[in-house]
Symmetry: C2
Subunit: 157 residues, 2 copies
């Protein structure tokens, strides 16, 4: 069974922008049920339907299938409100790929960095801009942000 191990962090400053590549992503959810998340993602000229089981620690079952872009555009209209709009920046640091998601629209102001690891305890280099770890905070999942956008959270002044 395919299993995805990811660690997720907030970002403290903008040094990561140097050298990062960027792609715009639209993604929505046909199911936000944590036991059976169904995501539609449109990224450039590629599109995917992804099914994820319940998270166990920082691991979870994940099944991803490519779909035609024209289908994804229709599938996004079937998704629960609202569809996530974000820019994904990618940068390699010390042999690992970091994905840094900068959210737009109703989630503007939120920037989250993720690293995918082969095992839950794999060591990795921490860049200077790395902030608080939020791997276990379900509010930072895209499925939660789709239903409860960052702009609606109560923020510290």
């Amino acid at each position: 069974m395919p299993v995805e191990i990811e660690r997720k962090f907030l970002v403290t400053h903008d040094a990561w922008r140097e050298g990062a590549s960027a792609r715009r992503i639209a993604q929505g959810y046909l199911s936000r049920d944590p036991d059976r998340v169904v995501r539609v993602r449109l990224i450039g000229d590629q599109a995917f339907v992804t099914i994820k089981g319940r998270r166990s620690g920082i691991s979870r079952a994940e099944f991803e299938y490519p779909v035609p872009v024209i289908d994804a555009e229709e599938l996004l209209k079937l998704c629960l409100p609202s569809v996530i709009d974000k820019t994904r920046h990618e940068i390699e640091i010390a042999g690992f790929l970091w994905e840094i998601d900068e959210f737009h629209g109703s989630n503007a102001g939120l920037i989250v960095a993720e690293i995918e690891l082969p095992a839950e305890d794999t060591p990795f280099e921490r860049p200077s801009w790395l902030g608080e770890e939020v791997s276990s905070d379900s509010r930072y999942t895209n499925s939660y942000l789709s239903g409860s956008p960052y702009s609606t959270w109560a923020h510290d002044a």
Copy 2:
């Protein structure tokens, strides 16, 4: 956008069994939300993930993607209880294919015949075993039967 037009009927006697081919189907639901149904189906050595929008009359948007059988077996474990177990019998009558679903397990006793048509008003030959039309009765959708099996319905004595 792909649109599926189907009419659905109950079945009054067993004459349809003659000449029909049969395949066992296991199918479950990752979402039973009528606006965005997500179905996993395992049929012999084939498997599919299917996404359906809200029904409008007897039409609805439908997107179907083949997936590996080994994935489908895992995806069925992620589905909402319970997974539907049925035998699909197929028979051609006067140029149209009838699909006759004979349910097992918690839906045993229910047999439903479906015909797919090119338009909502296409005329077709009605076989002698055709009973009441239930195209618009949402209780006869597989997604409803998955959550509220036929054996739990209040039946007339």
